[in-house]
Symmetry: C2
Subunit: 845 residues, 2 copies
Amino acid sequence: MSRYVYDFDEPAEGGRDLLGGKGIGLAEMTQLGIPVPAGFTITTDACRAYMTSGGQLPDGLEEEIEEHLARLEETTGKRFGDPNDPLLLSVRSGAAVSMPGMMDTILNVGLNDDAVASGERFVQDSYRRLIQMYGETVDHIDAQRFSEALDEDDLEQTIETFKGIYEDETGRPFPQDAKEQLGRAVRAVFESWNTPRAKAYRRHNRIADDLGTAVNVVQMVFGNKGDQSGTGVAFTRDPSTGEQGLYGEFLADAQGEDVVAGIRTPEHVSEMQQRLPQAFDELVETMRRLEEHYKDLQDIEFTVEEGKLYLLQTRSAKRTAAAALKAAVDMVDESLISREEAVARIDPGQLDQLLHPRIDPDTNYEVVAKGLNASPGAASGGIVFDADTAEDRGRNGDAVILVRWETTPDDIHGMIAAQGILTAHGGMTSHAAVVARGMGKPCVAGCEALSVDAQAKTASIDGTKLAEGDVITIDGGTGEVIVGEVALIPPDINEDFETVLGWADDLRRLKVRANADTPEDAAKAREFGAQGIGLCRTEHMFMAEDRLPVVREMIMASDEDERRAALDKLLPHQQSDFEGIFEAMAGLPVTIRLLDPPLHEFLPPLEEARDERMRTRIRALQEANPMLGTRGCRLGLQFPEIYEMQVRAIIRAAAAVQQRTGDAPLVEIMHPLVGFQEELRRLRALTIDTATDEGDVEYLVGTMIELPRACIRADEIAEEADFFSFGTNDLTQTALGFSRDDAEGKFLTFYLQDGVLERNPFETLDQSGVGDLMRIAVERGRGVKPDLKLGICGEHGGEPASVAFCHTLGLDYVSCSPYRVPLARLAAAQAALAEQGVEAVSVGG
Amino acid sequence: MSRYVYDFDEPAEGGRDLLGGKGIGLAEMTQLGIPVPAGFTITTDACRAYMTSGGQLPDGLEEEIEEHLARLEETTGKRFGDPNDPLLLSVRSGAAVSMPGMMDTILNVGLNDDAVASGERFVQDSYRRLIQMYGETVDHIDAQRFSEALDEDDLEQTIETFKGIYEDETGRPFPQDAKEQLGRAVRAVFESWNTPRAKAYRRHNRIADDLGTAVNVVQMVFGNKGDQSGTGVAFTRDPSTGEQGLYGEFLADAQGEDVVAGIRTPEHVSEMQQRLPQAFDELVETMRRLEEHYKDLQDIEFTVEEGKLYLLQTRSAKRTAAAALKAAVDMVDESLISREEAVARIDPGQLDQLLHPRIDPDTNYEVVAKGLNASPGAASGGIVFDADTAEDRGRNGDAVILVRWETTPDDIHGMIAAQGILTAHGGMTSHAAVVARGMGKPCVAGCEALSVDAQAKTASIDGTKLAEGDVITIDGGTGEVIVGEVALIPPDINEDFETVLGWADDLRRLKVRANADTPEDAAKAREFGAQGIGLCRTEHMFMAEDRLPVVREMIMASDEDERRAALDKLLPHQQSDFEGIFEAMAGLPVTIRLLDPPLHEFLPPLEEARDERMRTRIRALQEANPMLGTRGCRLGLQFPEIYEMQVRAIIRAAAAVQQRTGDAPLVEIMHPLVGFQEELRRLRALTIDTATDEGDVEYLVGTMIELPRACIRADEIAEEADFFSFGTNDLTQTALGFSRDDAEGKFLTFYLQDGVLERNPFETLDQSGVGDLMRIAVERGRGVKPDLKLGICGEHGGEPASVAFCHTLGLDYVSCSPYRVPLARLAAAQAALAEQGVEAVSVGG
């Protein structure tokens, strides 16, 4: 027969899965000799049996509970149901995975009229709490009926009223039998696993529905028994900074609920030393032992009942990124944990906190609108509606936010001058979003509540009128828009950060590169530890203000000669761009993607075209689905002179830098949007012919893998490629048939809200779909060419779960935006550690 | 040592691959005892050896040629190089795969000054031809130099002039040594394998470059030796009609070249009977034997030299579809071939000829422009520029062609009234193209040379001005546009057609269904032998003139209640549409696809919207890439009431038809654009809930597989599906990243012209890319659910090579437009035969 109940002092093989998080904590503390109230745990097995049987307690469970209750009476010296000072119990839920506040707890089980009759005010108060919680939880009575009837000044009367409510609602008097109370409380906790809110929480957090919860039956201890009693929460180190030393709050003569309710202001936990020196010393010693045992920063709850300390809970503390890093470095110094454990313990997603200014979490502010979190970081500044004004004011040292319907290449100088960018239109891949991310500048894009009248220099957000100069704050990490200034916390890259990332570098196999299009970005990326550039997009060079007219000349050319003439003018610009990037990345590989976007992106909107000839050209280039149109290598094959110019510029730049600095860049020339071997065969030939013509520089020729067909026929394509770089942005768009511009804010947002999808596939790689195509590509590509170099340059390259997936696939590197490089370094190390059995422990903040 | 030369009377194991088409024909005829000039074949092996060695004749070849030449001298009783009546030879190319006119032939090899000195005019003429052909082919002298200098009245002088040209161009006199002539002629034929035009032809026809050509060295026979000589071509049956009996042309006292040059008009071959009775009888008997041997309609070339008949070539004759069918049926009746062979011999692509009116191939006409061949068939009629005029004139019995910039749902009544549709804009999936194909009506779409001024009621094609009523002719099978009327041939479905397709039905495993959206299409499809409907698109029902206002009401609804009210009005229309289709397909399966296109397709263009509210809605629904936007099941999940209404209409219609006729349709409800299991899980539940609510009708629930992710995760999706239908149009678009609207006429046209791609993947399935995704889907889907019903409903379902691929994949059925059903039936039978080793022999017409 299965066993369903374990005392806290009995070892159980099932661990956390069987006993739940709270249960295993209580058991471990008990077994370490740490003062914990006595009690036992009913396992998750019992809950699962209860659920699958449709609400029957499994055979033998009731008898087991009886036995453990008897032991508990023995241990505590009190009797359950005794009319005189009875044993009181709390019945607490506790699943294996934390689901804070989602399930139920009932306190003071075992009290009845007889026990209270003799009792003090404190016992009366406990009884009315029992009736209230029991009524709500076991019998689903509306909480408001009790809260409206509560009269703290006349507890005797309140008890009578509550019992009346109970009988009124259930048709039965409040149960006086302690064991009946316990039995129904246990069932109620089991059932709380399946409340709608618990189910919704699990769906959102991808927790399996069939795990069930354990139930902890624990002796009640009371912090509200006078001035030798109290309750508190404490951290073994400061969860904001990671500083060593006791940190927490204490409230004398109070229960845990009172701390939560905020009726009285708690003291710093150190104040306890005066009032309860012995309990305090024991607390400090206990916390030391807990940290030593768990080897992590602990967050504990405790109660002192008449001078005696009880620990009620211990768990790894949520902490800020700075605290996580400091604690990890200190614990390695203290030989408490290894470097591997330190690295495994930092949540990579948290590092962003340290790289960008952010809104002070202690500030209160009102969010007037939300847009897309297009580029992380927060910024405050006066509104400007055009790039020229942004530049003028910026030159005067004013902080400005550039507010536009949508940005265009003509706005670049204004974006450079602004602290942040806010647009009403456009998605995560809009001009504003892409350029801002490249600049590491905060951007909220596609804020639909915003309307902009750039000519009148006014805007309106959800009814609030705004004029030029009005101050707003945007948070590009959350998409929030706030009217007025809000306190910001500056970026904070300290020594701990460098130390932990240094350890991560020693542990990881995946290399980390950056996506960078300018020398500045390249330098920033290198500063963050990038080992090269995985994606240098050349179209942004075409978009620069001084080149766009020449690019338009090239597009408007009526024949190849005219086109070549325009390209000749562009060549020195491209060359100097590349020289800057090669110098910044000296000695490291730089992957340059040849021109990718459709040509119409370089022309003005139809209504702004100056002459009929341009209008005709714009119309001719218009596409129903530009994402699937004449772009990438299709452009390069139709107008080979464009790619020829780019290759020429790359090779000349490489030769010049080599000559000037002696440090040759490792040039990788990448052709976009290849789906057929023949495309790459021709472009490889063009690349080699042109490069050979230009001089003696080493380079590789490869391709983006960003179409499903390219994955499927990776074997054929590999024959023409030295390397593959997975362009998972476009691969996600084509494999899923999701246009990113049309999905985000529209059907994809609906899918995420409605639970059709759990994750945004543009943020977290769709491993079973897109990822399986990648797996096929890796197998087929390496099957033909075992030393094929493989990387990823989609935005997933900077997302921890996707980085781990890339590690598993056996890629050589990930490439992400400069500001994601530290995160990717850490995630890559954690992926390598996971392979060795050291699982990342994400605590978060 | 390899053997490189075979006499015509020597059996060779390598067959056609080794001897080439011409060589194997001559050898087989020789071995059958049919009169053929003597000669030998130098194998393709020798050519390959010559090419790989960089132009060296392989060891032993020269000796072998010597030996066989000696035998030839013995057989013919003449000596090669003899100054007196020498043996003359033709040196002819002949590859394994027919490459008509692509490679070279040199006649009269072996003549020189000495032999001519004694000679008649006929010999002189032969000599000047030798110098000319030899000069052009062996020494690459410009043909014009000879043709300009030719003087038929003074052959002696011409010979001198030609020799002068030869020496002038090569610096050497014309070679007098017969063996030198032969040796260099053989090399020249080898080398003609690699001329640019031959290479281009092979690339276009997907013929491998390393096959090489054989060289046939054949005794010259002369049809120009007086009135007992002559030359001709003949067919064993009429290649236009298939009628039995001799058919062909004869020219007395002439060489084959003269027939080609068209200087004299040939007579009907039967005239030969008077002039050359013995040779004629022998010809008739020979042709009977050839047909008996080859069991196919033969196309032969022959020459009579002084009363003696020589066959020069035999091959399967190109023929019209009608002839192919008649000949096949007759040959089965004559017990010459089996039904399987008959079926294998019809080119499915040719059947289209019989199903639509077409331009009489014997007519001369001038094509003024070409557009996309959007829907096959030809039509003539007066131009009309709007649907109402089309309807008015159509009612008067006038034949009209509707000419539009692009059609919209508002034009449907005009399209119904018109004989054909011509548009200036839009691709193969434009409204005009899709609707016309459904109607089986000729359509030329996206004719860029056409400009239309609908208000002025004028158009212009490439400079030609056209007004309303001007007659034009369009050929939707070729995309040709002609000004004026052209003679048309009506459709011709005869008994032979039915007979052969009946045999095909007995042989095939794949079922054939039709894509049909109306009862009329369904009836037409059934008439053509469709075994059900594989795709009934419901959006066309939404587009009908009387429903569009209600559909717009539905889209403009401000909440679900308003939307439901509009849908309630649509429901009876949908139900009656479905009833008509179910009656037409009684007893057969009907797959109905729920609403697929984005909602903005039902709204007018922005500039035509009447009020601000509609403009706002249109703007909100606008998408950057509608192909990848809110459509298909994404729409159904966001507005479940739409699909609910459709399911309700389907089930009610099925119940009504069942009650009325007693013949229950087999309803298959299909959800479009599914990529994730969860999408189909929800929609399946919605379908079942709604259907259960409506009554007791059997149905299946399935999905289109038209996204790469759906193929990859077919295992998960299969758990929620009773059937899959591959939507290869969209699957091709997403897998290749090709927007069909943006590819055709743009980069895809360039790709096809420039040879980046050999086939248009929207016409012929990209088997190695899209097809491999389908293979993965079949494996994974059937891995989970072995009895999963599988079909294809993309346009590839009516393309022979793609049908064969679907057979190989193990699909249950293909579905195509009604007019492609016969073709698919035949192609499916040929696929089944190929599996049994009976290869389809495509001769074409």
